[in-house]
Structures are given as structure tokens and as C-alpha cells.
Amino acid sequence: MKTSFELNGNNVSVDTAEDATLLWTLRERLQLTSTKFGCGISVCGACTVHLDRVAVRSCSMPITSVEGKKVTTIEGLGENNDHPLQVAFQEEQVPQCGYCQSGQIMQAATLLASNPNPSRDQIISHMDGNLCRCGTYNRIIKAINKAAEEDQL
């Protein structure tokens, strides 16, 4: 079956099985592999993308539910890796293995979009569903704070 949606500003149309998820469609059909497979049951956050500007878990999102909507992956977040969060994540040297980081950044981006100056507790509550086995949590918090500050300037 065919699904049409806007992906990182471009109109795309994909032919998939009916039970296909957004995650595997992005990764294996459209070859946008920044969005990662971690758990498949929406509990780790590695597959986080934006659906009409809301952070969602693409691993549990049926492809049918994105029809006509706007999907943004980290490939579409910043030009040349220059989104304030991307810059801050580099400055704070956040990633270790890096596998969860696209999801972390995409999750954080929706926080800053709605709350340009989040408190520590607000950051934690917004980010708590995104797991990082390398344990970069404290650097993630620092980077989000930094990106928020940069944005205020």
C-alpha cells in the first residue's frame, strides 16, 4: 500500500506492507538511517522523530498514521549540523557510542521549541523516556541548558 507524507520538507510516497512501521520504512525503504532501532516497543527512545512537530517513537508508529503529515528526522533538523542542540552536544562532547543520540536530540528539540528556557526538572521529565547505556545523561542536561542559553542570545 502507498503512503504519502512530507519528510524533512520533501514530499515522499512509499509503497510498503500494511503493517509496516515508520521506523523501518525510514531506515530500509527511504535509507534514512539516523533514526535507530533500539527496542521496538517505545521504551528506549532511540527511534524518536517528529510527527507534526511532536516527538514520537517511530518504532511503534504504523506507517498508515503518517499519511499527509510532516515527519522530521535528524537529517532534517539543522543545516550542516548547526542546530543549537547539535552545536551544544558537540561542545559538551555528549555522545559516546552515539547510537541513542539522534533520538536524544530529536526529543530535546521539541522541548526547546515549546519551552526556550527549561528548568533542570523540566529537562529531566521531558527526556526521561530516552535511554542512554553509555551514561551521558549529565552531559545531555548540560548541552540542553547550553543550547537554551545560546538560543536566548
Binding site: L7, E28, C39, L77, N81, F89, Q93
Partner: protein, 718 residues
């Protein structure tokens, strides 16, 4: 686009890339958002191979080959950086590529004369490569000087270097490394024994805060993991593996599965039934549809909880001995005994295991894409599976989405090859998270039996430790207490075979052993009415280096053994080759049993530290993983089957559970570099248990310290 994507692939891949693979890379980033990262390879420039480690280009680029797996620990930056230091390369012009997987050329032995290997594990990378990279860098620098001297017709003694240039001060001339690349001859480099290495006080890269090479690509999604590889005509492999280790499978609905839409082949393996499908969706559907009968196996009788409780020291044999424990215990003023346990834990690396393979039409050669801690062994595994010579297997090492020991095993490479044998075309093998948990290879459960004899002053005169549980050598290491002044020490070990897969897990035996040892020492200190910090300090009189680490941690944390406002500090020491000391500040919810670690401090002596900020990051991460495994993580096995299946029933530490701060002090040292990736982890369990004792007067004898276990301890008048 193309260059960027190729950055993580091996040199051989550049040379041997098939038409198909090139199409994949070219077509990889058709959509916007893929940006060029790091230094692009200048295709026009002349390239000169200096030796197997370095290529120079006429555009002043220095290409350095990295032999280590990059799984977040930073070796990809640190190893080439050591070479660049001695070579006097301009770091901003250095491009790092993963080396070909050729252990004879790029591997190192772990002991003098040991077999060369490319295994990245045990915090050994910098330890193993530091000297070699320094020597190689110095040798290349000497070769550059030699070439410039010949060109200028001057005495080589008159030449020196600044980053990226050879200088002849007398005539005020400079020549860039790129210029030398155009004419230089490096066929006979000066011998390593003839070249001089830098005085460490002149280091400008080693020990300085520099960004990691891989970080930019990990903030925009362009870092490539094996899971991300796309090849034309690629199919997907899935396997149902035996839930009970060692059980052989029999598929009872084979024709039904084979007839499912999108299923290309079904493959019977020793440990499971695999399938190859046209799409992920078709593969997952067929995987869940399989009906398999499993044969009986030893592991069927294993129930981890009951077995752990039932372990006894009967039949344990002596593993290490110093002095005479049996005599010393008889003359002791006081004798203390305690038993501790720890459960199996799972690696939980964020990227489930996977691999991609492309076989030649005659299936006599193969190209593998993998993230492996032992890519040389993955190469052998593929060759063995296909029945071909290793020289016919090309391995492309990619980024690893976490390793922690799990990716030292090569079964997933062999599986991928076995599935690809059944079809015509490349195959991407994907493990689901459930596969990764249920077919995990766990840090072994251990029961520790302690008996200590103390003299009148409360000093330990006799130390007897027996560790019982599966895992063979995995539970042999980490039991040492030689940094403490104890005259009579014995370590006994009893291995129990349950037929369960066990494997190295960050810090291996040190995690369980240091938790048990340090918690017992804490108990001995408190029973003697002594501050557990001062008690250790007294025992470290003869070990200056260890004592300094202990003192530094106390200073950093402003150590105070007295609880205040519901919070208490605890302390523990660990030797994982490097010395580390951790202090945890915790609180406890007496109603729910939840322990919260508020702050954590760690002092670390790891010798010379190549990348200080990365060392901090490694300790921060190790502390988080240490807290996670101490408070939350456990794998249970019932009737041989792993009970847990995903992150919902195997929770790992979340951001809201992480300490507000982790402060790390790195001790200045001129000693040879030691391990860092694991060093911060082993003290965590003991530090938390120590703080718990300060707060409650009770001890946590069983790890993890889950709320229900903590409540049980609080109720029990221990």
C-alpha cells in the same frame, strides 16, 4: 556525500569496493540533511603511503589508520592522537580511517610475545598501543626529516619540526608534510631503536583537552553503524534462537513459513531456525509465526535464584594464596563471616547485534560489515562458516552502538554468513531487542563467602574469600586485595556449570568482587567503630599510589562518615589495573525502599591520560552503569529460560535516576597508561552499600539493591 560515508570503512574497502557497494554509498544520502563531516578526502591530492599506519597527501592531509573498535570509549581518537603527537602532525589535518582487519599488521599481543589480535576489550587499547604508536610516530617523523635533509642537501641534525612542517632554522626554510609527500621516499624508514621520542613535557596533544573525532558525526545521524548499511538487493535475516541455551531446534511448520509472503529461505542452525526475507516486515512476521520444538539440554534444570541460594563452598579450590590463612584465623581475636550474592546482568548495549554480508556468486569470497570488538575473530568465524580461507573475507569495521564485552563474541557474524549461504544476494541480519536479551551472554551470578580474622586493634590479619558460580575465568579476576596490608590472604573458587552463556561485561569480575569485598571491609571497619575511610587508609600504608587515590576521593567529596538530613556518604576502593575510589551520597525512601544516589565522586589514577575530557566521560558513564547494575539490573533464569525480554522488564538507569553530579579527579601521573573505560565501575556497588550502612546500620548482602530487597533488609533485624 560519498567521501563522508566512506570514512568509517576500511582501506581495503576503498580498493575492493564492488560496483554494488559504490551505488549504495552514492545513493545513500539523496535526501537533504546529510552533511559533510570531519575532513573530506581530497581525491585530487597525491597520496604517499609512509607505512601501514600513515598516508600523507600533497594537500597536507595526514591519514592515520585506527586499529581499535570505536564503541564510545574514544579509542578511535586516542590511538591515532598518540601517533600524531610523536610524528608532530597538525591535528587539524589528521583524517582517521578504520584500519583493515588484519591482525598480523594492525593487532597487538596482550603480553610480550602474545598472539597479535584486534580485540578491543578489558580497557586494554591504550595500554597495548601507546608505546607502539609513539615509536611509529617518532619513526615517521625521522623519515620526514631524512627526506627533507636530502632535498635541501643539509645535515639531518640541523632539522626540526613544528606541527605539519619540517624546519631548517639556519636557512629559515620550511617544508610542509604535504610537500614531502610529493617527492618523499619512505621505503627505508630509520629503525625504531635509532629514533628519539618526545620528552612528555613537550606533549601538545597527549594530556590536552581535545574534541573526539567521532562526535560531530554522532550529532547529525551520519555516524554509520553496521545496522545502517544498505546494499542493492539486500535481504533481511532473522533467527529464533533457543530460549534454553544449547537446545537444538526442530521447525514443525516449515512449509507454512516458506510459503509466507516475502520469505526467501528458511535455514536450520544448531542453535535456532533462521530465515531470509525480502523486507523487515515480512521477516518479523515469519519469525513470530515459527513453531519450533527444542531438544532437552543441561540448562533446562537451571533456576538462577534457587541455585544461587544453594551454592556452598564445598569443593572450592585454591586460586591465590599469600601467607597462611588457616593458622592466622586460629590466633585471631575476632572472626567475622559474611556472604554476598550478585545476579546475572545483561550488556544492554543500545544497538542490538547485527551484521551485513555480501557473498560472491560462487560463495567463495565474502565482504562483511560489522561493529565488532573482535573483528579479526569475526573474520575467522565467517571464513569457517563458509568453508573458505580467511584471505577471502573482507571485514569492514563500523561504529559500535555500545559493546561492553558483548561484541567480543562473533556468533552474529557466523549467523549472518550462514543465512547468506541460502540465498543469492546480500543479507542484513537483525537481532530484535528480545533476541538480544534472551540470547544474551551474561555477567555471571556469584555467591561470595568471606571469613576474616582481626587482631586486638581490629586490623585484618587473615582474609579468606571463596567465589562460587558459573563463568569460569570471568569470576576469577577482581578478587585481589594486595593494595591492602593483609598478611594472610586466600582466594578460593568453585565453578558451577549451568549450561548458561556468560561473558565479559564492563570490568568483568571486578564489578561483583569489589562490591562484595568493599562492603565486607566496610562492615569490618564499622564493627571496629572506625571510619571506613580511615580504616582503609591505615591498611594502605605500604601502597603510596593506592593511598593517594583514596585520599584524593575523600578530599574531593569532603568525606564525612556521619549522616546528615537523611543523606549519607559511602566509600569504596577498586583496582581494575588502574586505581579508583568512589564516594556515593545517597538517601533512602523507607516506605518504598528506593535508594537514590544524589552525588558521586571518583578519584582515578590511570597513569598517563591521553584524553582527559574523554577520561572524565568514561568515568561518568561507568558510574551511571555501575549505579544501574547495583540498583536495578538482574537477569533471572527459570527452567533454563531467560525471564526478561526488553527494556520494560530489564530496566536500566534513566536520566531521572542519575546523580545530580559526578565529580571526577584524575591523578597526575608519569606512569605508563592504564585502563579507563571500566575503572570507575567496580567501586560503585560498595560505595552505595557503605552509604546504606551509614544511614541504616544495615548491610546490603545481595545485589542489585532493588526496592523490594531493600525493604526486606530494613524489616529484618540484621
Amino acid at each position: 556525500m560519498m567521501r563522508n560515508k566512506q570514512r568509517n570503512m576500511s582501506r581495503r574497502h576503498f580498493l575492493a569496493t564492488t560496483g554494488g557497494a559504490t551505488i549504495f554509498i552514492g545513493g545513500y544520502c539523496l535526501l537533504p540533511g546529510c552533511t559533510e563531516k570531519g575532513i573530506a578526502e581530497d581525491k585530487e591530492a597525491i597520496k604517499k603511503e609512509v607505512n601501514v599506519w600513515v598516508k600523507l597527501t600533497s594537500s597536507d592531509q595526514v591519514i592515520i589508520y585506527n586499529p581499535a573498535a570505536e564503541m564510545g570509549q574514544g579509542s578511535m581518537t586516542a590511538v591515532p592522537l598518540v601517533l600524531a603527537e610523536e610524528m608532530d602532525a597538525d591535528w587539524s589535518k589528521v583524517k582517521i580511517l578504520n584500519s583493515p582487519v588484519e591482525a598480523e599488521t594492525y593487532g597487538v599481543g596482550w603480553s610480550p610475545g602474545g598472539t597479535k589480535n584486534m580485540t578491543t576489550a578489558g580497557s586494554r587499547t591504550i595500554r597495548s598501543y601507546y608505546q607502539l604508536m609513539r615509536e611509529t610516530g617518532a619513526q615517521i617523523r625521522a623519515g620526514l626529516l631524512q627526506n627533507a635533509a636530502e632535498k635541501w642537501q643539509v645535515n639531518v641534525e640541523e632539522l626540526t619540526t613544528k606541527p605539519g612542517y619540517v624546519i631548517h632554522e639556519i636557512s629559515d626554510r620550511t617544508m610542509s608534510f604535504g610537500e614531502i609527500a610529493e617527492f618523499g621516499n619512505f621505503e627505508s624508514l630509520p629503525t625504531i631503536s635509532s629514533v628519539k621520542m618526545k620528552d612528555p613535557k613537550d606533549f601538545r596533544l597527549i594530556g590536552k583537552v581535545l574534541p573526539r573525532y567521532d562526535v560531530p558525526s554522532k550529532t547529525d545521524g551520519t555516524a554509520t553503524y553496521a545496522m545502517d548499511i544498505q546494499l542493492p538487493g539486500m535481504m533481511y535475516g532473522f533467527i529464533n534462537r533457543s530460549a534454553v541455551h544449547g537446545a537444538k531446534p526442530e521447525l514443525t511448520n516449515e512449509s507454512e513459513i516458506k510459503n509466507m509472503e516475502g520469505v526467501v529461505s528458511v535455514v536450520t542452525l544448531d542453535h535456532g531456525i533462521g530465515l531470509v526475507s525480502e523486507s523487515v516486515e515480512a521477516g518479523l512476521k515469519a519469525k513470530h509465526q515459527m513453531k519450533i520444538n527444542w531438544a532437552d539440554t543441561l540448562a533446562l534444570s537451571h533456576n538462577s535464584e534457587e541455585d544461587l541460594k544453594a551454592y556452598t563452598i564445598e569443593g572450592a579450590s585454591e586460586s591465590k594464596k599469600d601467607g597462611d590463612v588457616d593458622s592466622a584465623i586460629k590466633t585471631a581475636t575476632k572472626v567475622h563471616e559474611a556472604t554476598f550474592t550478585n545476579k546475572y546482568v545483561y550488556h544492554a548495549q543500545m544497538e542490538p547485534l547485527n551484521a551485513v554480508i555480501s557473498l560472491s556468486t560462487d560463495k567463495q569470497s565474502a565482504e562483511l560489515w560489522i561493529g565488532s570488538q573482535a573483528p579479526d575473530r569475526a573474520k575467522s568465524a565467517v571464513a569457517q562458516t563458509l568453508g573458505i580461507n580467511e584471505s577471502k573475507v573482507t571485514v569492514n569495521q563500523l561504529f559500535l552502538g555500545g559493546g561492553f564485552g558483548r561484541r567480543t563474541l562473533s556468533g552474529y557474524a557466523a549467523e549472518c554468513a550462514a543465512l547468506a549461504m541460502s540465498v543469492n544476494g546480500p543479507v542484513k541480519l537483525i537481532w530484535t531487542r528480545e533476541d538480544d536479551v534472551s540470547y544474551g551472554a551474561f555477567r555471571p551470578q556469584v555467591k561470595h563467602f568471606f571469613k576474616a580474622g582481626l587482631d586486638r586493634e581490629g586490623r585484618i590479619t587473615s582474609w579468606d574469600h571463596t567465589a562460587v558460580g558459573p563463568g569460569g575465568g570471568l569470576s576469577n579476576g577482581g578478587a585481589g586485595v594486595s593494595h591492602y596490608d593483609i598478611p594472610n590472604v586466600r582466594f578460593m573458587r568453585k565453578d558451577v556449570d549451568h549450561g548458561i552463556r556468560t561473558k565479559h561485561w564492563r570490568a568483568v569480575g571486578h564489578g561483583p568482587h569489589k562490591y562484595a569485598i568493599e562492603t565486607f571491609i566496610d562492615q569490618l571497619a564499622r564493627s571496629n567503630n572506625t571510619d571506613p575511610y580511615l580504616y582503609r587508609l591505615e591498611m594502605m600504608k605500604g601502597n603510596e599510589r593506592a593511598r593517594r587515590v583514596l585520599e584524593r576521593a575523600a578530599e574531593l567529596s569532603n568525606w564525612d562518615p556521619t549522616p546528615s538530613r537523611g543523606k549519607a556518604m559511602g566509600i569504596a576502593f577498586a583496582d581494575r589495573d588502574s586505581f579508583s575510589c568512589g564516594v556515593a551520597q545517597i538517601s533512602l525512601n523507607h516506605d518504598t525502599g528506593v535508594i537514590r544516589v544524589h552525588k558521586y565522586w571518583c578519584a582515578l589514577d590511570a597513569g598517563v591520560i591521553v584524553q582527559p575530557d574523554n577520561a572524565l566521560a568514561q568515568v561518568e558513564g561507568a558510574v551511571i552503569m555501575g549505579i544501574s547494575s547495583s540498583l536495578k539490573e538482574q537477569i533471572d533464569i527459570k527452567d533454563g529460560k531467560v525471564v526478561q525480554s526488553n527494556f520494560d522488564d530489564y530496566p536500566i538507569l534513566r536520566m531521572s535516576e542519575a546523580p545530580e553530579s559526578i565529580e571526577v579527579a584524575l591523578i597526575d601521573s608519569d606512569e605508563a597508561p592504564d585502563g579507563i573505560g571500566e575503572a570507575g565501575l567496580p567501586a560503585v556497588g560498595g560505595a552505595i552499600a557503605s552509604a546504606f550502612a551509614a544511614l541504616t546500620g544495615k548491610y546490603l548482602y545481595d545485589m542489585p539493591f532493588t526496592p523490594e530487597r531493600v525493604l526486606a533488609v530494613l524489616k529484618d533485624a540484621l
